[in-house]
């Protein structure tokens, strides 16, 4: 059986096996336990580590000197403090946009071209392994985004406004689905992202392996699909609004334990 199909079957049985009184979330939690030693995200993580250390790009360099906020080459603990302000770019950056900066400055790759590449193809496929690797190095650590820099505070405030921004043919905002506790769409439980929704929930659950399509999604892709379902136009990869939303959700979830790269149905 193909791994993806097997995962789907496993998930289905995990959910079906549970009594109907259990929520989907319980089923998923059970499934996660079953897969503790075999989350397919591990494969992305391993590939990401390889990519991190490999000489690549026009400058034939690795990413080992990349500064993710804890100093060049320090990967552990970096993820749970992103997005944050970086002095060299003088911008607040999330993991993906920061990786783009490193790929451009260290390896000589074309960041704008990578940002425009469709998800899952070319360097975007590599990006999914890289975010798995970097996030895994902070697994089990608590989210603690810095808010000391004026730009970080500004991004939180603007992110909050973006979160409540209603528009499009459905009049939806992020808050339409994620502004209250205990709500669902169909059977899908929705975390309240205006506060800390708990360990490994919401912002603390991504990047994650998606069983449904057999791909690993970083926060950029997660937000992209949210905007699709919100009936909004297409957000640029690493665009300011996606980073501002990351700051808003990440700061709200302060202290939540990151389980990334997690697993989602």
């Amino acid at each position: 059986m193909k791994p993806q199909l097997m995962m789907t079957v496993l998930l289905a049985s995990a959910v079906c096996a549970s009594a109907q009184t259990k929520s989907t979330a319980d089923g998923i939690a059970e499934y996660r336990k079953m897969l503790e030693d075999g989350n397919p995200a591990d494969l992305y993580e391993a590939k990401g580590e390889e990519l991190w250390k490999k000489m690549r790009g026009p400058k034939n360099a690795s990413l080992e000197q990349c500064d993710l906020g804890q100093g060049p080459g320090k990967v552990k603990g970096a993820f749970v403090q992103l997005p944050r302000h970086f002095a060299d770019t003088n911008r607040v950056q999330d993991l993906e946009s920061r990786l783009l900066t490193c790929m451009e400055t260290l390896q000589g790759m074309d960041a704008a071209a990578i940002a425009k590449t469709p998800f899952g193809r070319g360097e975007q496929a590599n990006m999914e392994s890289l975010v798995a690797y970097v996030s895994a190095a902070s697994r089990g650590m608590k989210l603690g985004l810095p808010q000391g820099h004026a730009q970080e505070k500004a991004m939180y405030e603007v992110g909050k406004r973006a979160f409540f921004y209603r528009a499009g043919p459905y009049d939806f905002s992020c808050a339409s689905c994620h502004g209250e506790d205990g709500k669902r769409i169909r059977m899908q439980d929705l975390p309240d992202l205006t506060k800390n929704p708990g360990d490994g929930v919401g912002f603390a659950a991504w990047p994650a392996y998606r069983v449904g399509n057999g791909e690993l999604w970083g926060m950029q892709r997660r937000l992209n699909d949210c905007f699709r379902q919100q009936r909004f136009p297409f957000p640029g990869y690493g665009s300011e609004v996606t980073i501002a939303l990351g700051v808003y959700m990440g700061v709200n979830a302060k202290g939540a334990e990151s389980i990334a790269p997690g697993i989602k149905r």
Partner: protein, 217 residues
């Protein structure tokens, strides 16, 4: 760095610099920052064009309120303006076919950039995403209230009767433009924005109000 990015970085920098001025500096204009950020962050994709980001008064005010209640007078004026948009069915008939209504209620498609067409025929009602309706359907959302027994609870035994008229007209208005009754309702304005046509709305009306509909069993 793209030109857009540089522009944003400059805007951010300028805003932050302003905020940092000594004395009684004006508060950082986060609303202006948001406006410029929304503009630079999105692009057209398929049927989902950037003009979708424009807000009418209802969306602008409800966004600003960030989930809190609007002042009474503002709510009332938004509701009145939305009520004016409601068009009653041309032939005076409100009730269609509940079976088609149920199919429409189940259908959660429409209006995303991965949908080929924005025509009403390509759109679902998305009802079960947020509401319980037919008791037999256990996969329902809870963002909106349960609509199980919607017509029955309201005493509608004949939707064509004079007695049922107020609730029938209200229900039509609610489906057509939900903001006519609740300024910051989370519900889309299906008729007002042309997402569903008159026939589709009538079928949803039947699902809610026809005594034979599974919703009223």
């Amino acid at each position: 760095m793209t030109k857009k990015r540089i522009a944003i970085a400059l805007a951010l920098g300028a805003a932050v610099a302003l905020a940092g001025c000594a004395g009684r500096a004006p508060a950082t204009d986060y609303d202006a920052m948001l406006a410029s950020m929304m503009k630079s962050s999105f692009r057209d994709q398929g049927i989902a064009k950037v003009d979708r980001l424009q807000q009418d008064v209802s969306n602008a005010e409800c966004s600003k309120a960030q989930g809190k209640d609007l002042p009474d007078a503002l709510s009332k004026s938004i509701e009145a303006a939305n009520l004016k948009t409601v068009k009653m069915p041309a032939d005076g008939r409100f009730i269609g076919d509940w079976k088609s209504g149920e199919r429409l209620a189940q259908n959660g498609r429409g209006m995303t950039w991965s949908d080929a067409s924005a025509n009403t025929s390509a759109n679902g009602g998305n009802c079960y995403n947020c509401h319980a309706l037919d008791k037999a359907e256990i996969s329902y959302g809870t963002i909106g209230p349960s609509l199980h027994n919607y017509g029955k609870i309201r005493g509608v035994s004949d939707p064509a009767s004079e007695a049922a008229k107020p609730i029938v007209e209200y229900t039509w208005g609610k489906l057509y433009n939900a903001k006519a009754y609740n300024a910051c309702s989370a519900m889309p304005r299906f008729g007002h924005v042309g997402m569903l046509d008159e026939k589709q709305l009538k079928d949803l009306m039947a699902l809610l109000l026809d005594p034979k509909s599974p919703v009223n069993q």
